[in-house]
Symmetry: C2
Subunit: 385 residues, 2 copies
């Protein structure tokens, strides 16, 4: 963070647990801003995923209406198509997708392992095949930084190695060490003046490795820290436990970001553990699959029980889908594979996620977060699938 510019992360209210460990917090994360006009991100918040320069089905105007604060772009996807240098020549990712709010780009590390074809890793980087045309490419820490610099995102993620789950302690430790070396090397690449950097803590489900990774990463001058290597196949309980364990290991005066998480209850538990930022494809991907999140639990909109339901999807929601349309109409769109289905469902699910975060923030600020959590779980007792 640029010291002296009045930028950075400020905690407004924080809750401490019985052992005095700092937990849920409401904060303000100020970013320099691409046009010299600082952004203020109110945390905790959820960042919708805009993989290839678009949150699938939505325009930037939709995102503004949803009050999305930060959106994600994927380095791997944008590098392959349309190409980071092309995006740069077209004025950067903000201009390309007409989004004038903060953008976080991931490092591409996760995708080269999970999406790309055959990949080969060495201490210098990863060689992989494009999932689009099978062509061979190579990512290094330096290239990841250069791509993100060209894209011009606001938050740049360090290049990391995310080992699969399950993996042995030695495999996870090696990945963690490599992630540290890559993080250090990333600093050699200068970013644009509006960009800040986040480091990623690895260590799998090994507490000792998480401690070491957090200690090592905290030595580096990052502007925020992410917990990586979770939500990759382990149970939600293990994921939540490890997030709860790791969060307080991260510097308390910097934003904490739990990558790739998760379900609404995972966000609640993450916030409770002291996480400030989340991202996940779940609300958007599930929307496209007809899985909708409501204040009463999940709704599978293709279920025939909704075929004549004139009720709105979620009476507590005021999104476009809930305000104007019936469950029967939303079901009809889904069953008929209409384009509008994905759009309305996405608007709804993101409204649910973003509202959830906003409510948690308010509850923290008003010192009634524990009570809010109880109500949250009570309302969701009967998931209606």
């Amino acid at each position: 963070m640029k010291v002296g510019l009045g930028l950075g992360f400020q905690i407004e209210t924080q809750i401490f647990d019985e052992r005095g460990v700092g937990r849920a917090r409401a904060g303000r994360f100020q970013l320099p801003g691409v046009l010299g006009k600082p952004y203020v991100v109110q945390t905790p918040t959820f960042m919708p995923v805009g993989t290839a320069g678009t949150v699938k089905g939505l325009t930037f105007e939709d995102l503004k209406k949803l009050d999305a604060q930060v959106i994600l772009g994927n380095t791997y996807h944008l590098y392959l198509r349309p190409g980071h240098l092309r995006v740069e020549r077209l004025g950067g990712l903000h201009q390309f997708m007409a989004w004038d709010g903060p953008i976080l780009t991931d490092s591409g590390g996760f995708q080269v392992f999970s999406l790309a074809g055959l990949n080969r890793i060495d201490d210098e980087g990863v060689t992989f095949q494009s999932h689009i045309d099978g062509s061979t490419h190579r990512f290094t820490s330096e290239l990841s930084m250069e791509i993100q610099r060209a894209l011009g995102s606001d938050i740049v993620m360090a290049f990391d190695q995310c080992p699969p789950y399950p993996a042995s302690a030695s495999t996870v430790e090696a990945a963690m060490q490599r992630t540290l070396q890559w993080a250090k090397r990333g600093f050699k690449v200068e970013l644009k003046s509006h960009q800040v950097r986040f480091g990623i803590v690895q260590g799998g489900l090994y507490e000792d490795l998480r401690i070491r990774s957090a200690q090592q990463m905290s030595q580096l001058p990052f502007d925020g820290f992410a917990i990586g290597g979770l939500s990759i196949g382990e149970s939600p309980e293990l994921m939540q436990e490890m997030a709860r364990f790791t969060a307080p290991l991260l510097p308390s005066d910097k934003p904490r970001y739990l990558m790739g998480v998760g379900r609404p209850e995972d966000l609640v538990e993450g916030v409770r553990a002291g996480i400030d930022l989340f991202d996940c494809v779940m609300p958007t991907r599930n929307a496209r699959n007809g899985q909708l999140f409501t204040s009463q639990g999940r709704v599978n909109i293709k279920n025939s029980r909704y075929s004549e339901s004139s009720e709105s999807l979620d009476p507590e929601c005021s999104c476009e889908a809930c305000r104007y349309y019936s469950r029967a109409y939303l079901r009809h769109l889904f069953v008929s594979r209409e384009l509008l289905s994905a759009r309305l469902n996405t608007i709804h699910n993101l409204t649910y996620y973003l509202t959830l975060m906003k409510k948690m923030r308010e509850a923290i600020l008003e010192n009634r977060f524990d009570e809010w959590i109880k109500t949250f779980y009570r309302n969701r007792r009967n998931d209606v699938r």
Copy 2:
């Protein structure tokens, strides 16, 4: 039309050709309105196609922004899914799709011939197989009216037989006679008080049959007349010629609707011939295929020449796609098969079509239509594919 309610069709300005035949006209078509609040449709206009209760990818708010005046619903599709009685139980098509403007439903006749599996026609109706699940169904004139009554559209189309192209004079004549009988039988089914009826003139490319069909149909108390059986495979020149021939055969004091037409130049020629209403899947379907209409001609957005174009799609257009995004971004969305591609392209193409109609209306009202047509063709000389 309900006489005495001040409803109906009023011609504001009409242009006559050198032989004194009434041609291009600007009018106001008043409909009773589903909530007792009359609709006023300013003609000529283009009606976007909302096949299954949605103009693909758009919400009713999008359609309002586009200033769409009438949208189409398809009887065949809505009958099969979600079912017309279901739509009626859910409050009718307007409420189902949250559209409070006029809706025209076609009769289903065209689809049972063009979309459905094996069909068998007799004097009473058509037996056909659903394109969705192969199940057997039967449409009669009476059922078509009952379906449209249940859907609660504002403009109900008579059930017609559209023969294929090419077809012999005897085949076309038989279809024309059947269409007349079906039209008469349709009147036995009472519609809702807000609904008006349009008859359909058939006769293929045979002038004598067109004359007879127009004379016979004009005897029936329809509120408007459509030219059917065109744009089904014949050349655009033949289509335009037959539309020009048929239009003045229809009552001049009722709206004239050229079904399933067409390209921008076909709309121009249709309006010139005295047509008031048009519908076609072209702007919406082509949008999804990356074929975009602009003031300078057509653009195939997937063309690699646009991959680094920071220009807007059409400098003369102020739609969302043209206002905020570059050709490069629109190409990227198309090439990446992003959902947003269909949406932005559809918004653009419909903006183009609806603006085109609006400009023609203004030109007619201001008595400079001939000059307008010349400019239109001059600007489009260099179609940029």
